[in-house]
Symmetry: C2
Subunit: 89 residues, 2 copies
């Protein structure tokens, strides 16, 4: 958990693209999968890493699972990056 999981989750282009898609609003697992040339199980693994990092949250609606972006954790990553650049001890 923690900032480690966040940066690890951000390290894969597919996962960054998932976050970019969710930026415009929540999407179901199937809708997200439709944007990639990968199988649903593969996407499911990526969803799990984003969930572990708490970069996304899930909500069930009927038979669908809806993924939401968690912007507060993204901001944590931003803060972490800024701290590598700024003049703070």
């Amino acid at each position: 958990m923690g900032i480690n999981a966040v940066f690890e989750a951000l390290s894969h282009p597919v996962r960054r693209r998932i976050l970019a898609l969710l930026k415009n609003g929540p999407l179901s697992a199937g809708e997200l999968a439709g944007h990639f040339d990968l199988t649903k199980p593969t996407l499911s693994v990526h969803f799990n890493k984003l969930k572990e990092a708490e970069l996304v949250a899930v909500e069930r609606r009927g038979t669908s699972l809806i993924y939401h972006l968690n912007t507060s954790i993204l901001e944590e990553a931003l803060t972490g990056l800024l701290s590598l650049k700024d003049q703070e001890p």
Copy 2:
């Protein structure tokens, strides 16, 4: 190369710590290695990933190799992260 290598490089805690150490000024490979419980060859591999991502630059001084932080690439990563959060297409 590119943003992909940058996020991949940022995904390991040792490499983020190296960047944090370089934030306060350039350091030699040996000085950097002194901050970790890892062998010098292991650190050398981490240096290489940071170099591939262009997050650091190297300069030789005598027998030492001096590593510098490249803040402009860090800013590229920041921009990339911001784009996942902001309302830009």
